[in-house]
């Protein structure tokens, strides 16, 4: 299926979970947050959240700055 992750279109496996998507980014989970279609998903729910075709996913991490 096709999703958009951080503004970039991606082809991913059907039923990919949010947790798996985040892991695939190689940033770990510590200090990371994610939102699907502008709704923040709690980390505890990532592995139970199956992404759907056309979902817009934003993954954030804590960085130096501000």
């Amino acid at each position: 299926m096709r999703i958009v992750c951080n503004g970039k279109a991606r082809e991913v496996a059907d039923g990919l979970t949010l947790g798996a998507l985040v892991d695939s980014l190689g940033q770990g989970r510590e200090g990371v947050a994610a939102a699907v279609n502008s709704a923040i998903v709690r980390r505890a729910d990532w592995d139970a959240t199956a992404l759907r075709d056309g979902d817009e996913v934003e993954v954030f991490s804590m960085v130096a700055g501000g």
Partner: protein
């Protein structure tokens, strides 16, 4: 020296360090350690899916410092609220430094966006630390909506112009019932000491350390300055010593004498 208490948490240092502009994560870690800071702030950004992430969270957690996310990058209240909620998820803390500075030249905080975001986030259970202009009335309004602390600026971010807003800061410190954390524009340890001598609860510094010739040494200098400033404040500066305040019998006498 008595301890700083922010949002009900007792902290051993009155220095808060920002994490931006360091040459490397390692240098940042050393500077934070040298400064003795108990709280560091950091931003939340979209992950660069192609790039390498210099993880700061892990190393800083190892130091045992408290991590406080900020909403820098938000252009309005809505974005600031969103950034705050993301950060709560990312770090598992309800502390948030609300900073909304859309103007790119001076990075001055938008008072209305700051107020609106703070109000909403307080309702959402956050401990809000509001970065704002040195405006006593704004600080009073922020206090009324329930922020944990106000963070009025000394001068524009990164300007190293020191406590330009000293006059207003003094009023804010006098009138505030929540801790006042002087933030932005501090360029030298002497200015940090000055802010604490004035009675600020804490101060925040970033550029002055990160952009110094030797950031780790400068961090240590700020650590000493914070200690000096607070100790001086508690010792009671000679010009404002306790004996310069009227005793109650004297107050009563003067009241009568003025009739």
């Amino acid at each position: 020296m008595d301890n700083l208490v922010l949002a009900g948490v007792e902290l051993p240092s009155r220095l808060i360090l920002g994490t931006g502009k360091y040459a490397s994560g390692e240098q940042l870690k050393q500077a934070v350690a040298a400064s003795g800071a108990a709280v560091v702030t950091m931003a939340i950004k979209r992950v660069d899916t192609e790039g390498h992430r210099d993880d700061i969270v892990g190393p800083l957690r190892e130091l045992g410092v408290r991590l406080m996310p900020n909403t820098s990058g938000a252009r309005d209240a809505r974005e600031a609220v969103f950034a705050a909620r993301l950060s709560r998820e990312a770090l598992g803390t309800d502390w948030i430094k609300v900073e909304v500075h859309p103007g790119q030249k001076y990075l001055l905080p938008d008072p209305i966006a700051t107020y609106e975001a703070s109000r909403e986030l307080v309702r959402d259970g956050f401990k809000v630390f509001a970065y704002c202009g040195a405006d006593p009335e704004l600080c009073r309004a922020l206090e009324e909506v329930g922020v944990a602390a106000v963070m009025p600026l000394g001068s524009p971010i990164g300007s190293a112009r020191g406590l330009e807003t000293r006059g207003m800061l003094s009023i804010i410190i006098e009138q505030s019932h929540v801790p006042v954390v002087v933030d932005a524009g501090i360029g030298a340890p002497s200015e940090a000491a000055a802010a604490l001598e004035m009675g600020a609860a804490a101060l925040m510094v970033n550029t002055a350390v990160a952009a110094a010739g030797d950031p780790v040494a400068m961090a240590r200098a700020f650590c000493l300055a914070a200690e000096a400033g607070r100790t001086a404040y508690e010792a009671g500066l000679a010009s404002r010593a306790a004996t310069a305040r009227a005793t109650s019998p004297m107050e009563r006498f003067l009241e009568e004498a003025m009739k």
